[in-house]
Each structure stands twice: as C-alpha cells, then as structure tokens.
Amino acid sequence: MEDTINFNLPKQTHDIFAVMARGNFISSNGSKDGMNRLYDVINNPENFDRLQAYFNVIRYNIERGNNFFYFSKLGEPNSELEKKLERFERYIDIIDLFASMDNKIGIGSRFRPGEISEECNANVRLKQKLQKIPLYRSETLHNKVREICDLMSRDSFLELEDEKSESYKVLDSYSYLLDIINSVAIYEDNSLGGDDTQGLVYN
C-alpha cells in the first residue's frame, strides 16, 4: 500500500499487473473485467511513465501496440525458440483461416464458432484448412473451431463476449499478430506472387 502512495501509482496497478504478468494483453476494446478501463489507465501519459518506472524495477517492461499493451521481460533472453516457432506457425494457420472466410474476421468483428464451422462445412478448401490446423482431441469441425476460439481467448486475442450465444469478439491485441505477419519478409519472388493470392482474398 505504502509503495503505491510513494510512487503515486493508479489504484488499478495491481489489476494491471495481474493481467499482464500472466502474459496477457490489455486491449482498448476488451470489456471483460474492466479491461478497457485498465487500458485507459495505462494509456494516460502520466500513469504510463509512473507504471513503466515502477514495473521496470522488477524487470518488467510495458510494451505499447496499436490500442493494446503487454509486458516484456527486461534483461532476460527470449528462450524456447522452437516452441515459439510452433505457436506462431499455428497462428499463421488460424489467421489464414480467418482471412479466407467470406466474412473476414478482423479487429472488432463479432462471430460465433458455429458460423465458421458452417462455412467450413460448405467449402472444401476451408474444410481442408481447418482440418490441417494441428490441434488435439477435436473430432467435429465445430469442436475444432471452438477449440481454436478458446485458444485465441486464452492468448487474449479474442474475448468470449456472450457465453450463452457463444459470441466472440476480436480484440485490438489481434493486430499484434497482424503486425508480426506484416513484418515477416519473403526473400525472393517466386511463383507464389501476390497476384495469385489476391484472388484468394477477394473470393
């Protein structure tokens, strides 16, 4: 308590830490657990500097993205490259699936897993994409989509907005993944040029 007074920290500091130290993102359009409020608190320039200084002491660094925040660890090497590669390969699979939907799922979109699985059922190409995403214990397409949504929610890219109707919302943190993908450079021009894929996007 005394510390928060000395540092003049916002009273949500504890909540912010609780969310971000778990590796989750705080997005401006998240509504669960007062997420958007926490975002506003961090986004306030005065608070930001204080929080940054405070967390830096325990080697955490607040990273700012487009309408979201997350923690990185100062002075610790980023480890587990193989695991990381695996996870981001899976993200590519998932984003590729989202990108191939008729109703493209982007930031702020709301959707139900049922919608995706139905569309996958109707479209062989999508069905194949979905089936090839490496996940365990999902027999039906629907369950697989649900598992994907669950996974993405745990990584705080999606939010289960309404449990009854199973409606998900895409959070701002999703743009983190898009940024990563955007920053990957493809070395050489080959047969898989942009023109080919353009057709895929618009269909």
Binding site: A21, E63, F88, E89, A99, V184
Partner: protein, 412 residues
Amino acid sequence: MSLQVNVKDLLSNLYHNRGVVETLFGQRDQITVNELLSREDISEDQYRKLVSLDILYEYENIVSLNDAVVAMFEDFMEIGEVTPGFINDYINELKRYINFYQDAREIRFLRSIKKFLKRINSTLTREIIKLQKNVDDTYKNESNYRIKLQKLEDYREKRDSIIQFIKKTSEVIDESRAMFNLTNDSELFGIVAALRISLIENLDFLIEIQTDITDFINKIQFQLDVYKKAQQLKEIKDHGALHFKTNFREIVSGINTLKHNGHKTPKTKIPIDFLYSDDGHILCKRVAEKYKITRLMVRGLADKMPGNFKDKGLEQQIKLDTEKLVERFLTQTKANLFEYLIDYKFPKAIGTVTFEDRLSLFVEIAMEYQNQLDFKYRLQYYDYTLGDDVKKRLGYTLILPMKEKSKKQKVN
C-alpha cells in the same frame, strides 16, 4: 390506396397501435405476420385494418411499417440512411422562391425563403450527424469486408455531395445578399447569419468525417494486405519453406511477449494460516473442483455457530444440576428457596455463579417445579450492595418445600 389524409385519423391509428408500431420500428423487416399476431395487443381484425389503411405492409410474410412513417421517426431521431438529395431539393426551392420574390416583392415568397433557409440549415446538420453515425456504425458492425469497404466509399461520395451543397448554398446566399438587404427583415438577417455560421461549422465536421473514413478504409486495407500476406505465408509454409524463404525464424525469435517466451507468472505463495480461514477454504474448494480432488470437496463448511453457543453450554450444565438441586432443597427444612440458592455452594466445575445467575435459577425452579414447592404468598426482603455503597433491597416470594399435599397453585 386509402392512406389517411386526415392528420387526426393517422395519429389516432398510430397511437392506438403504438406498441405494435414501436416493435415494428425497432425490428424493421424482421417480424413475420404470425409473430405479430401472437402479440396480445393486436387482433387479426386490427391487423387487417392497419394493412387496409396502408400503415402496415405485408410482403412475403414479413410485416413492415409504411416507409413514410419510418422515415418520419428516423428524421426525428436523426438515424437512418444519409440522404443528401433533400438538401439539393431545398436549394432549388430556395432559388425558385428567390426568383419569385425578385419578380414580385410579396411577403408570402419571403416567408418561403425563410422556411427553406431554415430547412437547409437543419437538414445539413442532421445529415452530417447521420453520416457520422453511419460511418462509425459501418466500420464497427459491418462484418463483410467487401461491403464494408463499398459502404465507406459510398459515404465518402455522400460527404462530397454534402460539401457541394454547402458550397452551393453559400453561393446562393452570397448572390442574394443585395436582395436580402433590401428586404430589411431582421428575422431573415438572423436566419442567414445562423446559416453562415453553421455552414462553416459543418464543413469542419465533414473534414473530420473525411479523415475518419480515410482512416477506416486504410485500416481495412491494411488488414486485407496482411491477410493476403498471411495466406502467402501459409502457402509457403505448406510447401515446407517457411524457415528458408522468409525471415520468419528471425522475427519470431525477436518476439518478446511473456506468454510466448515461457516466462512464468511470478507466484506468491499463500500463507498457511489463510488456508485455515473460511475464505481459504473456499479457495481450496475451487482448486479441488478444478482438479477434481474429491478429498477436498467432501469436507464442507460447518454451519455457522450461533452467537450464544457459550451460554447454551453453561445453561445445560446448570440444568443437569437443577434436578438434584431441587431434590436437595426438598429434603431440608431450614431455608426457603431463595435463601437456599443464594447460599448454596455450587461445585467448582461450574465456575463462579453470580448473583444474577442465582436469581434466574430461582425463577426457573419456581416455574418448573411449582408442583413440588409450597408457595407462601408472602414477600421477604433481601438486602445486598451493588458495587460501592449502593444499597439495594430485593423482595421475593417465600417458597418452602412441600410438606403435605395441597392444591395446585399458580406462580404469581
């Protein structure tokens, strides 16, 4: 075609069926005939009547309100589609009346000029508000990308046409300035001045809307581009070339989020003392549920202890003694019940028995064992001191052990 031309009839019909009208307005183009008829506030006949009056339309089993009614509500609530065309109509009307007035300086034309000037002002503002709302709404809620982009482009065009109309309006005002001055009508001057200010204001709004639209379109475009790239990467990945043809590995290794680097959440251990508390137990229970540990789940919380559980214990102890106490009292003849109790030496196990306790015991025995006791209806007095030097005197009924059978007597 039998739409009422009578305002009163129209209003009363709408009012009479206001529940239905409200529902139909709220859920436009969604309500089927059966759904509507299942409502309690409308009967089949009433429904037929409304249809025959052209207030309701039925098309492919979907009921909808007359467009004119919907448009009226939307106008008032400043929602609905942006329709800048109206402004153009008003401008043309305005020009027409200005011409009339230039020909024949009659006051009725001036009145129309004022009317249309005012109308242009309010319509412009309303359309811009609607535009703003719709742009926002489209960006946030339209789920289909192509349609979203298309809609935003449409709004951009509508914005351009509104700007055109604003320019046209100010031209008309400028051209007619001399004529306006001639009228020497202060109300007209006021209207024109207000319009001028609002034209400038509205232009500012439109510029802002333009940046919004551009921003939204760019964002969508960015996402589309990234999605294209994602599909490209996916294809490369499916060819097994992701690590060789791209710098994926490099980029991923630079990722510094906690979650993806296996940085564990710092854990603070829970103090054992806390786990023994009620809150701690609830926590344990939750953990047990999560990991399905039945051993922990079975042990439930005990019921809440009553606040006076200590007193109860003591009471029971004394009560156990009461019977013997009474027996002993009955066998002796020296003292009356009160004296006997006051002087009685209770066993140490009970602890100290206060004066008040003895008194309540007296009352208790008097009530419970009245049949075995001889109530003399005489008062005796007992003197005692309370604290320092406060002398008190207590009157009590003389109660003696029963010596011979007598009639039942009631407690006083």
